[in-house]
C-alpha cells in the first residue's frame, strides 16, 4: 500500500533519518512514537512529499511518488494529512473548507461535493456546523472538521501527526473517538501520538523512532509492555511515570491535581483510584508541612507509577529535612489524614537515608 525504501532526509548537517524502510499494508493502523525531535513529523511530511527526501523512494500502490515526473497533486489525493494545529482556512466556512479540494482538484460537481461533505460531517458529528467558521468552533470541533476535510478526497491513507496534542485535554476524547472509528472501518492510517492507551487500543503496529530511523517496532503490547531495546525501554518507562516537585508550602495544589488527572487519564485509571492517589498525596503533604518542627521550605519530590501487570499504583514520596516518620507520629496521636492513608493503601513503608525521607505507598 505505502512503502518507503532507504529513505534519507537531512537539513544541512542535521541528519534526521537515514535508510528508513517501512511497508504498510492496506487496513493497517500504525502508531509512531518517540522522543521529541526524533523526526516523526519530518517522516510524515516526507512520505507526503511535503519535504523532498535526499534519497530513497516512496511507493503508493506500487507507484514511485519521488520521481520527477510525478504529479504531486495526484499524490496528495491518495494521501491525506491531519496536523497538530488544525490548519483550516479561516476565511471559509466548514462546508467550503471540506469541499474546496474535491471541487478544485477532483473537479467534482458542487452538489455531489456538498452531499459527500454532509455525510462526512455526520460521521464526525457536526452536521449542524456546516455554515460555521473555524473561529466559531472549539479546538476539538476544528480538528474533526480537518479530519472530514482530508476524508473528502477519498485518500488511500491518512497520516495523523499528533492530532490531539494541541487540544485541551477535555477535547482529545472526541477526536480520538473518530480516529478510532476510522481505524475500525479499515482505513489505512499512520498516527504519531503520545496517547498510549489509544495506541494500545487501535494500533495494529507501533513504531518507536530514535537514532535516525525506526529503532524498534512491534505490536502495541510488545512495545508498551515488553520493549526489548534500551532506548525504547527508557522512553516507555518515562511515559509511565509521573514526577512532580514541590518547593515550598505555598505551592499550587490545584495545578498539581490537574496534572495528576491528566496522567491518570492516559492510563484509563478509574476515577476512584485517581481520588485515592490525590488523597494520599494531599494527606502526606499536609503531614509533612504540618509538622511545625520541619523547615517550611523543605522540598518534596514524588512520582506516581502505574503498573499494568499488577494493576497497582506505586507512589514514591521523598522529602528532605530531619527524619520524620508520619506513620510513627500517627501512632502517638489521632491523625485523620493518616487514617485515610491507611484505609486506601495496600502497602506502605518509610525509610530515612542520606538526609532523605522516603515513603512508598501502593494503591
Amino acid at each position: 500500500m505505502i512503502q518507503a525504501v532507504n529513505l534519507c532526509k537531512s537539513f544541512g548537517n542535521l541528519e534526521v533519518f537515514k535508510d528508513l524502510n517501512i511497508n504498510i499494508n492496506r487496513g493497517e493502523c500504525v502508531a509512531v512514537i518517540g522522543p521529541s525531535g526524533t523526526g516523526k513529523s519530518v517522516f510524515f511530511r516526507t512520505l507526503a512529499m511535503l519535504e523532498k527526501p535526499d534519497s530513497g523512494q516512496v511507493y503508493i500502490n506500487g507507484t514511485d511518488i519521488t520521481g520527477k515526473d510525478v504529479n504531486i497533486n495526484k499524490v496528495r489525493e491518495k494521501l491525506g494529512m491531519v496536523y497538530q494545529g488544525f490548519h483550516l482556512f479561516s476565511h471559509l466556512n466548514v462546508m467550503d473548507n471540506i469541499t474546496l479540494a474535491p471541487l478544485k482538484v477532483k473537479k467534482m460537481n458542487k452538489s455531489d461535493a456538498q452531499k459527500k461533505a454532509m455525510e462526512l460531517l455526520t460521521m464526525v458529528g457536526l452536521t449542524d456546523k456546516s455554515l460555521s467558521y473555524p473561529h466559531q468552533l472549539s479546538g476539538g470541533q476544528q480538528q474533526r472538521v480537518a479530519i472530514a476535510r482530508s476524508l473528502a478526497m477519498d485518500p488511500d491513507i491518512i497520516l495523523f501527526d499528533e492530532p490531539t496534542s494541541a487540544l485541551d485535554p477535555s477535547m482529545t476524547g472526541e477526536v480520538l473517538a473518530i480516529i478510532r472509528k476510522l481505524a475500525r472501518s479499515g482505513l489505512t492510517m499512520m498516527i504519531s501520538t503520545h496517547e498510549m492507551s489509544f495506541a494500545q487500543d487501535v494500533a495494529s503496529r507501533v513504531i518507536y523512532m530514535d537514532e535516525k530511523g525506526i529503532y524498534e517496532q512491534g505490536t502495541a503490547d510488545q512495545i508498551f509492555k515488553n520493549p526489548t531495546r534500551e532506548k525504547t525501554r527508557m522512553f516507555i518507562r518515562k511515559l509511565k511515570v509521573f514526577s512532580y516537585s514541590i518547593n515550598s508550602r505555598g505551592f499550587d495544589m490545584v495545578e498539581m491535581n490537574v496534572q495528576i488527572e491528566l496522567f491518570c487519564q492516559k492510563y484509563n485509571i478509574e476515577p476512584k483510584k485517581v481520588n485515592y492517589i490525590q488523597l494520599v498525596l494531599e494527606e502526606l503533604i499536609l503531614e509533612v508541612y504540618g509538622d511545625s518542627s520541619i523547615n517550611l521550605q523543605l522540598k518534596i519530590d514524588f512520582t506516581i507509577e502505574f503498573s499494568e501487570e499488577r494493576n497497582e499504583i506505586l507512589i514514591s514520596f521523598v522529602y528532605d529535612g530531619r527524619s520524620f516518620n508520619p506513620f510513627e507520629a500517627a501512632e502517638e496521636s489521632e491523625h485523620l489524614g493518616m487514617v485515610l492513608i491507611y484505609g486506601v493503601s495496600k502497602n506502605y513503608g518509610y525509610s530515612f537515608e542520606n538526609g532523605l525521607n522516603t515513603i512508598n505507598i501502593n494503591i
Binding site: 495544589m253 490545584v254 491535581n257 476515577p271 476512584k272 481520588n275 490525590q278 488523597l279 494531599e282 494527606e283 499536609l286 485523620l336 489524614g337 487514617v339 485515610l340 491507611y342 484505609g343 486506601v344
Partner: protein, 110 residues
C-alpha cells in the same frame, strides 16, 4: 467546590458540589457556618455532587456537627457517592453522622 443553600420544608438543604480539599476547606467552612450562624438548626447536606473529600473537608463536617449538637439542632447527610461513602467509612465518620441514601428519606426521617 460549590455550595448552594435552599429551603425545603423545615430543613435548609446545603448542596455541596465538586471537591472539598485543603485548598478550599476554609472557604467551605465559611459558607456553611454562615448558614449555621443564621440560627438555622435543621440542616441536610446533599452530597450528590461531592466527588472528592480529604481530611480537611471532613474536619469541616465535624465542626458543623459539634455546633449543631450544642444548638440542639439536627444535622443529616444524604446522597453520598460510593467513593465518598468509602472515605466516611474509613474515617469512622459514617457512625458519627446520620447518613441517608437520598434527600427525601433524610427529610422524612424524624
Amino acid at each position: 467546590m460549590n455550595v448552594n443553600v435552599v429551603k425545603s420544608g423545615d430543613y435548609s438543604i446545603i448542596s455541596v458540589e465538586g471537591r472539598v480539599d485543603t485548598t478550599n476547606a476554609g472557604e467551605f467552612e465559611k459558607a456553611v457556618m454562615e448558614v449555621v450562624n443564621s440560627g438555622i438548626n435543621m440542616i441536610i447536606f446533599n452530597c450528590s455532587g461531592l466527588n472528592y473529600i480529604s481530611s480537611s473537608g471532613l474536619r469541616v463536617f465535624l465542626i458543623v456537627q459539634k455546633r449543631m449538637m450544642a444548638n440542639k439542632g439536627q444535622l443529616k447527610l444524604c446522597s453520598l457517592q460510593p467513593g465518598i461513602t468509602e472515605i466516611f467509612d474509613i474515617s469512622g465518620f459514617s457512625s458519627i453522622f446520620s447518613i441517608f441514601p437520598d434527600q427525601d428519606s433524610a427529610e422524612k426521617a424524624g
